[in-house]
């Protein structure tokens, strides 16, 4: 049995979602010869620490009632201090990112790698904004830094390339990388409503944030385009290099006009061109997926065109990608 110790940084929707699957699949992982022990869970106000391993069932029950501080292992130590003091094999950096500086994830990842711990993250901002530096830091320390969950939620893109498309040169990658905008644009098509009304509906269902600008102005998609350009196309691209046009200007008349001519409007991240913009997609095109689905078209020299469709967000879906990285990194522990 291989024993692997973990630190989970961030216990919000994604962090708790990951913990829930780890708890649920404990026996299955044991059958694979893997025993994961969580030695620390860090949240904004403090952390739970236990060298013997934390019972995730207890933590999840407390987290549901927002009562993490009642846990017997609770301390007021902040994540950076925990990463200094507690040693583990792998750090799961699962905090939400700040689009301007990539914090707090950027600091967490640097601290973990400098402290000799592998990192798996779902946090796109630090990877998009500080890719070169973090990649170098991991390589210098002979450690792994994986971030499949940062792009496309459950859709395997980076690991698909590493595992299944090794012989291929990726020629182009483009697609729908943001579920909120796709939900809004789909509703405009299906119900003939305005962008504002579709957004209100998305807010009510919890698909859009109360301030949805990050999604509808294309910034979220742009971060993912940066990650895919650097990883899949081997470019050296910064966030500032991406030309970004969101969907704010799309009128219901434009949506209906597009339908009349056999098109739908989708917000497309075009990785090869370094561009995020609304595009006309033929109705019968594989990228014409509705609701909050994501869809990515990958064109390579040997495999040809592949279209991947799946949920780009959600706790369980994101956990699937986190686990694909976690089991991969486990081989190097």
């Amino acid at each position: 049995m291989k024993k692997i110790s973990l630190i989970i940084v961030g216990f919000g929707v994604i962090g708790a979602g990951f913990a829930r699957i780890l708890h649920e699949k404990k026996d299955y992982l044991r059958d694979l010869g893997l025993e994961y022990k969580v030695v620390a869970v860090c949240e904004k106000e403090g952390s739970i620490i236990s060298d013997e391993g934390i019972d995730l069932g207890d933590v999840l029950r407390l987290a549901d009632g927002k009562k993490l501080a009642q846990h017997s292992g609770w301390t007021k130590k902040k994540s950076m201090q925990v990463l200094d003091e507690v040693k583990a094999d792998i750090v799961l950096e699962l905090t939400p990112g700040d689009v301007k500086r990539g914090e707090p994830g950027y600091g967490h990842i640097k601290k973990a790698l400098s402290g000799g711990m592998h990192v798996v993250t779902s946090n796109k901002s630090p990877i998009a904004l500080h890719y070169g530096e973090l990649k170098r830091l991991a390589e210098e320390n002979n450690l792994k830094l994986r971030y499949e969950a940062a792009v496309g939620g459950a859709i395997p893109l980076l690991n698909l390339r590493d595992k299944c498309l090794k012989i291929n040169e990726i020629k182009s990658v483009y697609g729908i990388l943001n579920g909120t905008t796709n939900y809004v644009l789909s509703k405009m098509v299906e119900e003939g409503i305005s962008l504002e009304n579709a957004l209100d509906e998305a807010r009510e269902l919890g698909i859009a944030e109360s301030d949805p600008s990050y999604d509808i102005d294309g910034l979220d998609t742009a971060l993912k385009v940066v990650i895919l350009a650097n990883n899949l196309l081997g470019r050296d691209v910064s966030f500032e290099d991406i030309r970004v046009q969101g969907i704010r200007d799309i009128t219901s008349e434009a949506v209906q006009l597009a339908i009349k001519h056999g098109y739908v409007i989708k917000l497309i991240g075009d990785v090869g061109r370094g561009e995020v913009s609304p595009r006309l997609i033929p109705v019968e095109h594989p990228l014409n997926v509705s609701g909050s689905l994501n869809a990515v078209l990958l064109d390579s020299d040997v495999a040809g065109e592949l279209t991947l469709i799946g949920y780009g967000a959600g706790a369980r879906q994101t956990a699937s990608s986190i686990f694909s990285d976690l089991t991969e990194v486990t081989q190097f522990v």
Partner: protein, 164 residues
């Protein structure tokens, strides 16, 4: 090397002669000229000529384009050498009031706007206009860049079709 070239000429005196000059100048030997007049503004002309190599053809093409002559098709030794693509796009904003004629004319300098569909909910509201333009394969990026410039200048939103 046998070349069949189709082009659209302005229906004005001297335009046919101007289209033939670059061919002779770059060593082409004209075999036939077919001329088709229709209701459209342009007159379709199909030329068949012999050239020594593809370099001569490239020079002929360049000269014709510099002379604002629109080539719609080229077949070399029975194989299509050059193809036209149609791109669709939507402009949103005050498309009519910001001189739609000027927008179309500027696009026509590189390609040819072949369809325009306008939705104008009321005169003061933003209109949505879907256009289709026929463009030389090699000029698609240039046309897209041009439309982006026009949109920036006229404060219009641009939704382009997918480009490979």
């Amino acid at each position: 090397m046998k070349v069949e070239m189709e082009m659209g000429l302005k229906d004005v005196p001297g335009s046919l002669l101007r289209s033939l000059e670059p061919i002779s100048k770059h060593g082409g030997n004209i075999i036939s000229v077919l001329h088709h007049r229709s209701e459209a503004d342009d007159v379709k002309v199909k030329l068949v000529f012999q050239i020594k190599d593809l370099k001569s053809l490239q020079l002929i093409e360049k000269s014709l384009k510099q002379g604002a002559i629109k080539i719609s098709d080229i077949i070399v030794e029975g194989r299509r050498y050059y193809e036209k693509k149609t791109i669709s796009f939507i402009l949103i904003g005050h498309v009519i009031d910001s001189d739609i004629r000027d927008t179309i004319d500027r696009i026509n300098n590189i390609g040819c706007v072949s369809d325009v569909d306008v939705v104008m909910p009321d005169p003061s509201a933003k209109s949505s206009v879907l256009m289709k333009a026929d463009i030389d394969n090699g000029d698609i990026d240039n046309v897209v860049d041009l439309i982006k410039d026009i949109c920036e200048e006229k404060k219009l939103a641009f939704i382009c079709c997918l480009l490979k």
